[in-house]
Amino acid sequence: MDRLIPYSTDVYNAIISDHNLSLWPLQVFVVVLCLSVIGLARRGGANNVAFMILAVFWIWYGVHFHITTYATINRAAHYFGYAFIIQGVAIALWTFWTRGQFVKPQHRVWVWAGIGLIISAAVLHPLLLTAMNAPITYAEIPGVMPMPTAALTLGVLFLMPQRFALWLLVIPVTWSLWDGMSAWTLGQNLSLILPCIVVIAAFCWIMKTLSNHGSSVR
């Protein structure tokens, strides 16, 4: 695994710090936007707005961080950027195709899981790192850094009052696995928490979906 990570922890942190400083104070607006998504996603008409916000996050992040910044220390970041753009376009297209659909509200457990994921991504994850004496400029928030963006996406999907295609989970879950392995290799154990939460939540959702599908077939 260490062959795939061509930089050290201090360099990665410096890149994040430079990235955050170049965007400040956009982060404040982004966190407010993330929390407002909780309300938007639960409304039949406004949930499309929440999804379009996600689509913008993925595309903007793919171009602005992966391709223009992260690629300076990791050549694979170009491919990460393309994957993020694909995810953003996929979310936008899915939103367009399913607009106006309203099946039924999700079960309460998944609503709370979705809210938990969004709050973890937007508030707890950045606070956790800074609480461990890391500079505030290392904070990772949705739309600005990839892992919380993936967690936010899963949270919004759980809140939606309509069915979503499982393939929308492929890139967020794949990224979470990669991010978790990178954190493990670099010895950043606290950064393992959010990827693990996302992967476990996605696994539970997939099992539930497949189980429901099996029941309806019988």
Partner: protein
């Protein structure tokens, strides 16, 4: 860990005696700097160089670039020679060019980089990129990274060598992989340098590659002498043997480097570091006595006992 074969080592030392007669014996007699000859030319180079994998990949961050420039300055101030990089190492070549442009003293530098692609055309493009990124008009050494499409790339490199743009050519591998293919290439191709992994833990190269290099008169660069920090981390806090001081060894990094460069077929080791203090520690190996065959075995026995 595999036991050192004393018989193999003695045979190797005897086989490479001519190599030592040309330069190393004189170099060892020099109290200030340990140098080794490049067999094809007889040119003497410092036995400790520097790698840039991870350590010089710092992107566009000016603060980190300036800090790496300090590391490079220390390297040259202490008599450093070979600097090894690759297009694979992210921004490392760009950062190297930045640092070299800032330094007034780069005397003694032996610039080394690689082609890292399976495409012949992209290989040519990478060569041009390396000249631009380093800000050099002539490279000392170009290597084919991880033996990727070495057949075509060696042709390209020979053309560049004939044109006077490159002085030496070579091939590389690491992590103990593809030793058989490397050995076949060493046996059949006209190359000046080989680069592979060798350290107290990974000693596969002792069986075939090191003796073959000595036999063929090919210079040897050793990467990962610390197994990417694994060995220095493992031994940290453990006591050095009392006899280590006889060889001027004051740290585990020096212990590990001395083991590597005291092999008679090794020309140069290229530890990578991002810290000035570690660079000083590494370069100190150039100024102190090397262990002999008996003490190399003692070094191995000691680390195996830990």
């Amino acid at each position: 860990m595999k036991q050192q074969s004393r018989r193999t080592f003695i045979k190797l030392a005897a086989a490479s005696s001519a190599l030592f007669a040309t330069g190393t014996t004189k170099a060892l007699a020099t109290p200030t700097l340990l140098r080794r000859p490049i067999p094809k030319s007889g040119e003497l180079i410092p036995a400790i160089g520097m790698g840039t994998w991870v350590t010089f990949n710092v992107g566009d961050n000016i603060s980190l670039r300036d800090q790496r420039t300090d590391v490079l300055k220390t390297f040259f101030d202490l008599g450093g020679g070979m600097i090894d990089s690759s297009p694979m190492y992210g921004s490392a070549e760009d950062v190297m060019g930045y640092s070299l442009a800032k330094l007034s003293n780069t005397q003694g530098m032996l610039s080394a980089t690689k082609i890292w692609t399976s495409s012949k055309d992209e290989g040519r493009s990478q060569i041009n990129d390396s000249f631009r990124l380093w800000g050099l008009k002539k490279f000392d050494l170009f290597q084919v990274h991880k033996l990727l499409n070495w057949e075509e790339h060696l042709d390209t490199l020979r053309e560049r060598r004939a044109a006077g743009q490159i002085r030496y050519i070579g091939i590389t591998t690491s992590h103990g992989s593809r030793h058989s293919e490397m050995a076949r290439t060493m046996e059949t191709q006209d190359i000046d340098f080989v680069q592979f992994t060798y350290n107290v833990e990974d000693r596969d190269a002792e069986d075939r590659l090191l003796p073959l290099a000595a036999d063929k008169g090919i210079a040897v660069i050793i990467n990962r002498p610390f197994q990417r920090g694994t060995l220095t981390n493992r031994f940290e806090g453990k006591p050095l043997p009392t006899w280590a001081s006889e060889y001027g060894i004051t740290s585990w990094a020096q212990y590990l480097l001395k083991f590597v460069v005291s092999h008679p077929a090794v020309t140069c080791a290229i530890p990578a570091t991002s810290k000035v203090e570690h660079m000083k520690e590494n370069m100190n190996v150039l100024q102190t006595r090397l262990p002999d065959i008996k003490d190399r075995q003692r070094m191995l026995d000691y680390v195996q006992s830990l």
